[in-house]
């Protein structure tokens, strides 16, 4: 049995054989790209935000060693996705992140201390989702995909021009909710962009044990969702792809699935030992594909990034890190009354009694 040919529609849904990119690993523009190179000011902003995001990430990991954070899942090495996808969003669009996407949150403008509230353990969520249009960071994987589809569909029903961008990892593509979300989004033509950051591992489980699909982007065709395989370490390419998908979704074209091939340089979290499941040569090979190096080289070659600007951004990143340290070193405000205040719109009689009991215990 052989496949003699695909219809035009089928071809339009399939990803390319090789990941799409604008900049190769050395920061040199690829020949004849299928994507549109972002404007210079966008590229400069991508660079700036990646420097700041990476500094934030390093700072957060350091805070775990000082006991200020219970745990931190680093996204080092994935900044092209974290920053590129978020900058591609329009103000009215929504972001639905996972627990690994703290850099995406601060790039979106969420206060860094509020971003880290969950991992600090002082509350489940520190920020107001409506303030920056950022859904709660999702720790049960893939559940946020359905929230994104529902929110985007409701926006269409209301006649609003809103696209939802949902972030998920390679492991989450095995969860049922991902498949239900792709299917619902396709049937409803909901304006949702699914960005899979395929960083090679679901904690310790490698892609070879996660999926037998030719690529994770191939999962789109079964649902009628156009899919893109991209180089997830190319900030310009990630930005351009997500932007294009958002534009198409906003125009009524329905959802898109993007698989960005990237790599998690750090362990799953500070509590994980990656040496148990991968070797250092593999990490070294990916360090050679670093997203920050790549855009720096390109911008430097173009003469857009001089030492002065570089130093300014570095100083800005250090200031940001200092703000994070200061904020996280302050004792968090813990109010036990909050435990009971937001279970229901109005606390039930039973909860009022339990709150009074706790208050009495604390007073004695």
């Amino acid at each position: 049995m052989s496949v003699t040919g695909l219809s035009a529609r089928e071809r339009s849904l399939l990803p390319t054989d090789l990941p799409l990119a604008l900049l190769d690993r050395n920061g040199i523009p690829v020949d004849d790209p299928a994507l549109e190179m972002p404007a210079d000011e966008v590229l400069l902003e991508l660079h700036r935000r990646i420097v700041i995001g990476r500094r934030f990430d390093t700072q957060a990991t350091a805070l775990t060693r000082q006991g200020r954070l219970a745990v931190y899942p680093s996204s080092r090495g994935q900044e092209a996705c974290e920053v590129g996808a978020v900058l591609a969003l329009r103000e009215q669009d929504w972001l639905f992140p996972t627990y690994r996407d703290s850099v995406a949150l601060v790039t979106r403008g969420v206060d860094p201390v509020q971003t880290l509230t969950l991992l600090q353990g002082s509350w489940h969520l520190g920020y107001d989702p409506y303030e920056h249009k950022v859904g709660p960071q999702c720790t049960p994987l893939a559940t946020n995909t359905l929230h994104a589809v529902g929110l985007a569909h409701a926006a269409r029903l209301k006649g609003e021009d809103t696209v939802a961008l949902v972030l998920l990892g390679d492991g989450a593509t095995s969860e049922g909710d991902t498949h239900e979300a792709l299917n619902f989004a396709a049937v409803w033509k909901a304006p949702v962009v699914f960005l899979v950051q395929n960083n090679g591992y679901a904690i310790s489980v490698p892609m070879s044990k996660q999926s037998a699909a030719p690529s994770l982007a191939h999962k789109g065709i079964g649902y009628g969702v156009p899919s893109y395989l991209i180089d997830g370490n190319d900030p310009a390419g990630v930005y351009a792809t997500v932007r294009e998908a958002i534009t198409a979704a906003a125009a009524g074209g329905g959802p898109a699935l993007i698989e960005a091939k990237t790599y998690r340089i750090e362990a799953h979290t500070n509590a994980d030992d990656a040496g148990r499941y991968r070797d250092s040569e593999e990490v070294a090979a990916w360090l050679d594909r670093d997203p920050l190096d790549r855009i720096e080289r390109y911008l430097s070659t173009r003469g857009l990034l001089d030492e002065e600007r570089r130093a300014e951004i570095q100083a800005e990143a250090e200031d940001f890190a200092a703000t994070v340290r200061e904020g996280m070193n302050a004792e968090p405000e813990l109010d036990p009354a909050h435990l009971f205040a937001h279970v229901y719109a109005q606390p039930t009689k039973a909860l009022r009694e339990q709150a009074a009991m706790l208050a009495e215990e604390l007073a004695s």
Binding site: L125, A152, A155, E180
Partner: protein
């Protein structure tokens, strides 16, 4: 006019249909969706005619995926809608369990009140209709054990209308359990919503000897038992809980303190079931008023039986009367109650 509004005779299914229609009419943010709820009108016809009347944007069929239905309802509620979704049968709601318990129930708390999810999940539940496996579960305890959810269940057509309207208006997520064996029972419905609030229990039949505590499909069975009990000389009070969570301690406690005896009845299995919570709460509050331990009459601790054997499993009048008979009527200590 008032009389007409208060005395419409209709089936529970029709009352639910009317409640959905009136809610859709009253508030454009209300959406109704799920499996087969569109042109078909639902397998129990509860959404009959709504798709034609309100259009595909507001009443629609979804792909067959319960987690998808609840998960997207959460997203829609985050964006200002008031979704009313249907799980086709009790046991078919289990794929949605994670979305219900980890997200729907918790998001208000996780966000310190910033995200409000006024979602209603309608679940036809319970047995007694000759349904094959996975179509007859009484799944209430899974939901009542989850803080953040309200769980209500009507026992009459009147309450079906009132409670569903209240559930849709509630700022909290509500699991709305519909006793499917009572869909076709008729009764008066007050369209002016003049009944008690959603979280209050109701004395359906006053009595002085013993309190039968029931809800959903067992309310009718309890009333039947109360009628039969008069022949035995017992004057039975029937309390219809209506709201399983939160629990109306006040109404139940008042009744049991007055009668001094109580039996809790439900279809669900007894072990670790909802009745255990009721017995514990009532005992804690009524200990010195009780003449006998509170008994439970429940389904057996077995998977729901095949239809030809379900009559043995479901609590009926005789089994409840037997339990009433075991409430230590003869060994009362005189003067114990002062």
């Amino acid at each position: 006019m008032t009389t007409a509004l208060r005395n419409q005779e209709m089936s529970m299914s029709a009352a639910l249909n009317r409640a959905l229609a009136d809610a859709l009419e009253a508030d454009e943010r209300v959406l109704v969706f799920g499996e087969d709820v569109g042109p078909l009108g639902g397998v129990f016809r509860v959404t009959d005619g709504l798709n034609a009347r309100f259009g595909e944007q507001r009443v629609f069929d979804t792909p067959l995926a319960e987690s998808g239905i609840v998960g997207t309802a959460i997203g829609m509620a985050m964006n200002g809608m008031r979704p009313v979704v249907e799980m086709q049968f009790d046991a078919f709601a289990y794929p949605a369990f994670e979305q219900i318990t980890s997200h729907l129930a918790k998001l208000r708390n996780r966000t310190r009140g910033r995200v409000e999810l006024p979602v209603v999940i309608r679940v036809p539940y319970g047995g007694g209709i000759g349904g094959v496996e996975h179509h007859c579960d009484s799944s209430e305890a899974y939901y009542t054990h989850t803080p953040g959810l309200r769980v209500v269940t009507p026992g009459t057509p009147g309450d079906a209308y009132q409670l569903l309207r209240d559930a849709i208006d509630s700022p909290d997520p509500v699991i709305f359990l519909e006793p499917k064996r009572r869909y076709w029972s008729k009764g008066p419905v007050a369209l002016d919503r003049s009944g008690p609030e959603m979280d209050r229990a109701l004395v359906r039949r006053p009595g002085k000897d013993v309190t039968l505590i029931a809800y959903g499909p067992m309310v009718a069975t309890a009333l039947e038992t109360a009628a039969a009990a008069t022949e035995e000389g017992w004057d039975v009070e029937v309390v219809d809980l209506r709201s399983l969570s939160p629990f109306d301690d006040e109404t139940v406690t008042e009744s049991v303190r007055r009668t001094g005896r109580a039996v809790v009845v439900h279809e669900a299995s007894g072990f670790s079931g909802y009745g255990a919570e009721v017995v514990a709460r009532v005992t804690e509050r009524c200990f010195h008023h009780l003449h006998a331990p509170i008994l439970r009459v429940t389904g057996f601790d077995i998977p729901y039986p095949p239809p030809k054997l379900e009559e043995h499993h479901l609590p009926g009048v005789d089994r409840i009367l037997d339990a009433i008979g075991r409430l230590q009527w003869d060994d009362e200590v005189v003067g114990f109650h002062g």
